[in-house]
Amino acid sequence: MKTLFLVLLSLALCFAALAQTPNKNTEKYTVSGNIKDLSNGEGLIGATISVKGISNVGTTTNSYGFFSLTLPKGTYSLVVSYIGYLNKVITVDFSSNRIIDDIQISEDHKQLQEVVVVGNTLEEKMQSVEMSTNKLEISTIKSMPALLGEVDIVRSIQLLPGVSTVGEGATGFNVRGGGVDHNLILQDETPVYNSSHLFGFFSVFNPDAVKDVKLVKGGIPAQYGGRLASLLDVRLKEGNSKKFVGYGGIGTVSSRLTLEAPIVKDKSSFIIAGRRTYADMFLKLMPDSTINQNKLYFYDLSAKWNYDFGQKDRVYISGYFGRDVFKFSDQFGMNWGNITSTVRWNHVFSPKLFSNLTLIYSNYDYSLGVPSGAQAFDWKSNIVNYSGKADFSYFLNAKNTINFGGSIIKHHFQPGKVTPSNSGSIFSPYEVAGQNALETGIYLDNEQSLGKKLALQYGVRWSLFNYMGGRTIYDYQGVAGQRKTPINERNYEKGEVVSTYGNFEPRFSLRYTIDEGSAIKFSYNRMAQYIHLISNTTAASPLDIWQPTTNNIKPELADQIALGYFKNLKDNTYEFSAEAYYKTMTNQIDYIDGADLLLNNHLEGDLLFGQGRSYGLELYAKKNTGKLTGWVSYTLSKTERQIDGINVDYATGISNWYAAKYDRRHNLSAVLMYQPSERWTFSANFSYISGVATTFPDSRYEYEGLIIPHNSAGTRNNYRVPAYHRLDLSATLHAKTKNGKKGRGEWVFTIYNAYARRNPFSVFFRQEVQKDTPTPTTNTQAVRLSLFGSLLPSVTYNFKF
């Protein structure tokens, strides 16, 4: 605590010193405001404000569309630009500190048909300290071919450099050698625990409600913490504050409907967006009674309301509700989902000080059960979070922006509670003791520009995790690699602290401009993670367990350095980047063979701990404008793990390093979009990824007439599944434009896996089964499971009204 105070004090002093150096001779004034879309009043994130005639001076809007700019006294022409929008020049008088009226800019509808120079937005990439960051326009995501026509944010970001997945039906994504639980996924500031629907085939984000998607893989600002690998920041629309609009789509898998309208014009609006799949409705048409009683669907609904109390205050209230339901006849049922509600309050204390206060409630739960018969039971589990955070940006002067704030999260985990669901059930009630924890963090950082060439962002986050009582606590003793026995049983009262961990997380980024079109950037960050996903399935299973750090489990830490070169060519038509990174991770978690993950009060006794490392080179080239746009990305990387008790050398007893499952040596993606006319857009995705690492047997033996595979060397991940590659195509027929008015409907035709490659999801080994005989054969075989054995065509109709 003491050291923290000293660090903060010295940082503050450092900032104060910075504050005193400039403005010796001229008075400076600060003007702030919001930049919005003229047509719907949505705040624009990352719009650029530059000053005509003065290069290298300017700013960008934050996640709420707010900007603050400090200039010497005078009158200036400010150029406001945003990708896909027409530049707007406004004259602003800097003779007092003030908040100006919203600046509204309009979309450039001609942009897609001819080459236009897209303002300063891309130069911003040269100016910003930010690296290892990819922003995907929602319009781009929507133009890309999608699995069964379901536009999916998580699948789209998998085509970016440094991002991979272990398979099509696998949950989430892996960033720079991190696990799927190492990504901080925020939807309007609210963490999302389970980002998938339907066992990982689709993600929870409804693309119609999404405004902005940003993925940060390195140089993560001090404001964010709690996960090791990345930040996926998804911002939802606020709702049209000008007029009522409705739009949606009818697809092969699901249908969508979104409504937006002003409540008080230009002051208050709402958006409500919903989605539901209807595969189960077709099941009902099947004559077979064993199939038509089944249910399998998901739906999600998000709603958001905002009110603008004038220039200084704005309140947003939003809610998300999503659910997956699966029912197999009357034998088995399962459902799971997220409920979140968020209140945010933006307050502008002065043109120099912006703040946002967020309060979040989130509840992820699942239940499953057998409704009838001797094995009738009902099983429930949930994760409840209450959190609050306050973030401040202090626009000190033209050269320094100081960000500071803090957050607190109260976690409650209920891993499982089973009750018999009828009187004839053989089961007794059983409950795994819940776990409570308190996670807090405070941060301070400064974005500073030092002359025209050099800019820095440096700061520190201090995080503290308290594992709380309210249950029986154990220590575990034993050998790594085998189940450990609980010892030192003791009770902790609710509110009592069992164990405490604190971590300093320094963050540093640097940008050095070589010339107008090129820059070099460097970053270092340390991240700490206190809650961990324990999963034994590749597919997203709702039964995955989130396990807090305890007296037996230490926080995971990651240190990453990254170095990058960025170049823009031909007036920003082309951009190119090369980044190299090296990352180490400590206290990585795995579990013993045969671990009992579910309904286990002693799960901690089955866990194993170790370390990880990852390094790689990411190349990225993108064409931003013209009839043909798109990008090519290539990543060369290596990810390894070393866990005590796994991959043990029989002779020496040492646990050796091995390739992580998500170690994909070569990862190439290409996304191309071609718009030859106003009516048609064609697009294609191609990806090639080295096969996942896996363990293959080298021998077999018989036990009770059954054949068990065996790997006599005991090495983990000794083989590679064949490489994965796939091409997807899509064509979009846009509505006709009549009398200058755009029509209301568009058709999207998609072919996923266009050359019908049977990509391996997994290769497994089994004993050949002959049906209708009680005894198995002695034959064994290797089997490749492909999730998509052929090409998958789909049609979606999107409409507007």
Binding site: Q331, G424, T538, D593, S712, F764, Q781, L785, F788
Partner: protein
Amino acid sequence: MKTSFLNFVLSILTISFLASCEDVIDIDLKQGNTLLAIDGGITTLNRPDTIKLTLTAPYFENKPAPAVIDAQVSIADNEGNKEILRQVSNGKYIVGMRGKIGNTYTLNIKYKGEEYEAITQVKRVPEIDSLVVRFEKPSNAQTEGYYVYLFVPEPAGVGDYYRFKVYKNDTLWNQPSDLSIAYDRLVDGNRIDNLQINFKPFHKKDKIKVEVLAITEDHFQFYTEMQAQINNGGLNARPPANVRTNILNKNPKGSKAVGYFGGAGISAKTVIVN
């Protein structure tokens, strides 16, 4: 119970929802070291138990495992009884002594200059009350016909582990998916009544025998790991992980062995469908 349900759900999904497919492929696998494999145990049944000794073979060698006929095998209990086992055929060694509930048994094998040892216990087992045959009308879940239900009390005290075996007309159901194990964490001290044995109907005159084997916790873990290896497939397919063994080489640097020597208290009941 739980994991198998999940597997079941995932496999249904894989089959019905997606155009997924499984192809048998050729893979060039390295050849591993040949190890001794032990398959057997000691039970309370009134019939001789066997210990079968074989060798591991290359994974795709599609023929019965090579038998070990020249090992010296002996068994001893904690009461001081000891006997040398006789090899009868194809690596099968006959155990003369009967398992006694609560006793500990040590198996000793000398083979090719190595000495292996395995220890197990014979656990208490509840008597099966009855097997009941019922004729069920067709429903969403199953077709019309005869179904057999097991009635057995589970003794009080957590820590009982079971393996179930079903014999139809004296033949053990022994496909990989027939391997059925359970433990008493959720059913401790309860009556296990109306537990359905078959999901495809039996026919008149079928002779159905059910055996309940009370096994050790470690043997249960062995079966759990084995179950994961032999029932692979679908979205939930796992890469092979070695299944545990309780056979230890007395020389820790010596050649390993695989398989299991397990003790079991067994209770059985037979019913004829009519």
